[in-house]
Every structure is written in C-alpha cells, then in structure tokens.
Symmetry: C2
Amino acid sequence: MAKTNKTLRRRNEYQIYDVPIDSFFELAFSIDCVVFGYGKKDLQVLLTQRGAEPYKGLWALPGDLVYPDEDLDTSAGRVLKALTSLPDLNFEQVHTFGAVDRHPLGRVVTVAYYAIVNMKGFNPKAAFWADKAKWHSVKNLPKLAFDHRDIIDYSYKKLKESTMTKPLWNGVIEEKFTLTQLQSFFETVLDKKFDKGNFRKKIDLFQYVKETEEFEKDVPYRPSRLFKFDKKLYQKNEESS
Amino acid sequence: MAKTNKTLRRRNEYQIYDVPIDSFFELAFSIDCVVFGYGKKDLQVLLTQRGAEPYKGLWALPGDLVYPDEDLDTSAGRVLKALTSLPDLNFEQVHTFGAVDRHPLGRVVTVAYYAIVNMKGFNPKAAFWADKAKWHSVKNLPKLAFDHRDIIDYSYKKLKESTMTKPLWNGVIEEKFTLTQLQSFFETVLDKKFDKGNFRKKIDLFQYVKETEEFEKDVPYRPSRLFKFDKKLYQKNEESS
DNA sequence: TTACTTTTTGTAATTTTTACAATAAGTATT
DNA sequence: AATACTTATTGTAAAAATTACAAAAAGTAA
C-alpha cells in the first residue's frame, strides 16, 4: 500500500466537511453482490472464479468499484444487471465491511448487497465475465477469497429474516403462481418444511397475495388456483407503517 | 467537485482487486453516529451544531472520517468514546448512505452507526467538541444538515426493531434493575405503553434476565426485587442460533 | 367406474397473547 | 396499631394464533 500522507487530515475540526475537497485518500470502495439462485432443492449463490492474484483460483462474489458519479444503489443495480441481464431485480443493502486488512493490497471498503433470482431466467452469456460464473449451494460453499464467506453468511441470515415479511418471491416465481409454488420458495429459502394447510392460513393474512380466476393447465391432477402479487396494495400498506 | 480522472479505472476486469493500488479516488468515507439518549420521557438524539459551511448553523450528527488504518467499527467506537467518554458502549452498524449528491462539496460515503446511552452517565465536557452538542427529542428534531434526517429516521426504525430481541438496555439502565425500570426503557424506546403483568410474562421468557436476592431501598412503597443481565448466558444462546 | 394425486377446507388441541383483577408488601398517616 | 395508599407480584379467563392432523373436493389416468 502506498504511504498515507496524513497531512491531508485536519484534526482541529471534527467534521469531515471541513476537509479540503481536493484531498486524496488512498482507499477505494466497492460493492459486492450476493445473488441467491432459486430453482434447485437447495438455495444457490452465484460465484465467480478469480483469474488474478490475490486469491487466484478461489471463488469470489461478483462486484465492482463504485463509480465516482453513481449512487451506491445504482452501482449495485448496474453490476446485477450486467451479471444477470434481468431488468427489474430487487436488491437490498446488507452491510458494509470495512476491516483494514480485508484486502491484502490496500484499503478497500465494500458495501454488500443481496438479491434473489430464478436460475431459469438467468442468462450467463449476457454478462461479460459470465464464463467464469457458477452457482454453488449455500450448504456447500467452496473456499472463498477475501472475507466473502462472512459476507455470504451475513447476507444469508438477512435473507432468511426478510423472507417472512417481504415479498422477495415476487419476480422470482411465476407472475401467476400456485400456493404450492409459493410454499416451495419459502421452504427452499428457509430450508424448512411447512404444513400445507397451515401455510395457506398464513398466506391468507398477506392481503397482497390475491387470488385470480385462473387455474393451472396440463397438470396430471387437480389444477390449482393461481394467485398474484398485488404490488399497489403492498406499497400502500408499506407507506402507512 | 474536482474532475474525475476516469483513466484510473480499468474496465476490462470486473473485480476491484485488479485496479493498481496506487490509484487515487476522489472520495472520502466517514462514519456518522446516531446516539440515542435515554432518561427523559421521550427518547433523545445527540446533535452537534455546525460551525462552518456548508449548512452552517444547522444541526448534524457527530461523525468523522475513517482513518486509513482503522476498521469501520473501530472508527465508530473512537468517535463514540470521544463524544460520550463511556468506555464500553454498544453500537451497531445501521446502513451506508452513498448518494452522489449527499454532500455538496464532494463525494462522501458515510456509514451510519447507532448507540443508546443513559443521559445521566453522559459527560459532555469530555469530548472536544462537546460545547456544541445538545440533546433533541426524536419527536421534535430541528432542521438537519446533509441527509442526516434520513439517517436518524432509518436508525430509529432499526433501534425499534432490535429492542424486543436484543438487550439494548444493558449498560443503559442500572446494573441491578427492577422490572418496572426495564419496562420504562421499552416504553420510551418504542413510544408505547405496556401492561405491567403481561410485560413481566414476556420478560420471563428472556432467560438472560436473572432475578437477584436484592431489593430496592428507600422507596416509599413496596420495594421491588432487583434483576440483572446474565451476559454469559446471553452470548452462549446467541452462538447457538 | 375406480384408483390415484394434489388441492382445498376443516377441526380440535395446544400455545400465546391480552385485558383485567386480586393479592402481597411495603410506606405514610392518623 | 390500624388504616390508607402505592406499587409489586401473581393469577385468571377470554381471545387469538399456532399446530397437528384429517376429510372432502376436483382433477387425471387406467
């Protein structure tokens, strides 16, 4: 790491805002994306294999530096779009990791985001580094570069916490879905089985899960009613809380 | 803002780690602390009045730049200790605010932390900028600099969400406390009244709230039993979850 | 028509939450 | 010492939510 020129710091004021704006700091900040993949029995995480030192050959989270002229959220959205080519991905900031030694070559603070996608809708070719990207089960992660294992653990915990209260499944399962499909989503994410009848009662309380007049087709058993997400109602209820 | 020299960015690699370590980025990052004060009927927030532009005269959150050689959490701890002179403050990272235009003079990304303290234990003189610091009710905040209003709102929401599950009251109320004192803490933070009997039943479920054989003294009514926080048990239960 | 599969509804036991009351145990006053 | 008063502490019954499990409904396939 290059030497730090400490004369740039003014210690007779406590607020950062009095630091001259032409000061340079030898640091970088980045975003890292934990993209969870839904579609198999176990939840998956999208990892890329490092082609350069440090940690060459190890797996890492997709991420990038934040451009000087883009918001943090915009940056995460940009990386996720490049990676998944999905237009309207829901993603959320998780935590910022800023240990001094988290990067062996310098001071890099990273802001972690997570998103969850349907693996079927995911097109690896669309992203320019996609040939290196691969899904891994959250239950069996390889050795990871940097502190990316911590980032995944933290994000996975947050994902689970949000699953019951936020409609994370929106955009992941079909637009019109059966309650059994919705239940499968919950079961995969939370790695836990639910009772059919009781699950339905719980969903009944989510007013934003609305039944339609349509039914499944071409199934070798009784077709299930299809439901959909009432986004407007959800947003309205969110505001008033 | 000084012009961005985009040639420093390498776009043929997606990972930040391949960027030359001697690159400079025209950005700074800081931490901001939302210190909640317990002691009055309403919850309070500690604010400092700005003595310089921009936003001169407005109130702002105490904060500082993160040193090149200190972890984010260390940085928050340092500021909080300087501000409150309390040695073992519990604080937690809340969110990172990184909108491009959040600071009028340049790109400053800030990581927000919150803590809660007993206002009685707080000694303003200890901090070098303490003559400018003042408590404000969360219900009646003044006009705030930057996006600090957003930061407070976000932190307050998180504080409330954590109150029921984390022993935030530890270190804030007396070491040995009555259940009524504990109830008051909950009521102030959540701005909500609880039923005496039902509150006790809920606390009964928190195994880490242990009764002692001591009782209140010098009260003009029946003395209450004193309880204490079993930190070891709490940490043990945390690990196994 | 029957077997089979899944959806959908129901139900009773259990547990948790809530509202409210009764009792206990101190101090202060007469 | 007796009484009033205040808060602590315990109790209790109704209501609500959760759980385990079963039955009925509605389709396909043979």
